[in-house]
Symmetry: C2
Subunit: 155 residues, 2 copies
């Protein structure tokens, strides 16, 4: 079969911050993450999708313990960049499957998404690489998601 | 210092497909990627940011040689899901830094973004994990991005 999912992990100590409607032009990401970096905020995942009408949303996650600090910096940046809004949400968790050879095995991510769908769990953010698929979901669905995905790949 | 960027890679043979405005409810991602998986389309990165008014955009990349096939499947799914639009774009490339310990070294991603900003290169999509930061940019800026990022981290 080829693709091997080697582990499923759940991180319940994450918070997300979203900049809504930032200008999609060079320098914006550098400014936001430069400021966060200067203040030593560890950023976990960063997600940015394509722009519409020259603006896009930029989200990232941090440890929940860093949320207040990250939000304070982000709100300041948001004003400077004239973002429509900057919100935070620590009622999330991140569920991740890690595997080998996933890039060449279409359907591995789909299997994870299907398990979540069957549990009625909404996928709020997706970020992937060749070796991992991460989904941000509601915090109170984390344990259920972990159990179901574990059963799917390791039963 | 701690975080070590071990390589920079450029993939100029990628195409992106975006579903604009799909319902943000369970089952959507499973349906889209289930269909792509059934037809053996290898999906590289998947990016989905948070929803607005119960809808969100879903983008993914494939090898440029798979774009036509992926688009055909996607357009069909898009109609079924009543997406506002499904577009493809093979005028992109993906630039990635891979490293160790990046999650605990804020500022590594910011350095990459800063290099791109200084070259006037717009970052169109971002997807990250603990060990990598990938940016989708215009195809004709790939080589310049690779050179500049390589100099930044390996000079
Ligand atoms: C939105 C942000 O990524 C912007 N496009 C930049 O290049 O910095
Ligand atoms: C948009 C898509 O990810 C949807 N929220 C789902 O769970 O399938």
């Amino acid at each position: 079969e080829g693709a091997v999912v080697t582990s499923v992990t759940l991180d319940e100590h994450q918070a997300k911050i979203t900049f809504f409607n930032v200008p999609d032009k060079p320098g914006i990401a550098a400014q936001i993450f430069g400021e966060l970096g200067k203040e030593n905020i560890n950023v976990d995942i960063i997600v940015q999708n394509v722009s519409k009408q020259d603006h896009t949303d930029l989200s990232f996650t941090v440890a929940s313990s860093d949320m207040e600090h990250a939000l304070e910096i982000s709100k300041r940046q948001g004003e400077e960049l004239k973002a429509a809004n900057v919100i935070c949400d620590d009622n999330i968790c991140k569920i991740t499957i890690i595997g080998l050879g996933m890039a060449n095995h279409p359907g591995v991510a789909a299997r994870m998404f299907k398990v979540l769908a069957e549990e009625g769990i909404n996928i709020e953010m997706i970020s992937t690489s060749e070796i991992r698929v991460s989904c941000v979901i509601r915090k109170n669905q984390g344990k259920k998601a972990l159990k179901s995905i574990h059963n799917e790949f390791f039963k």
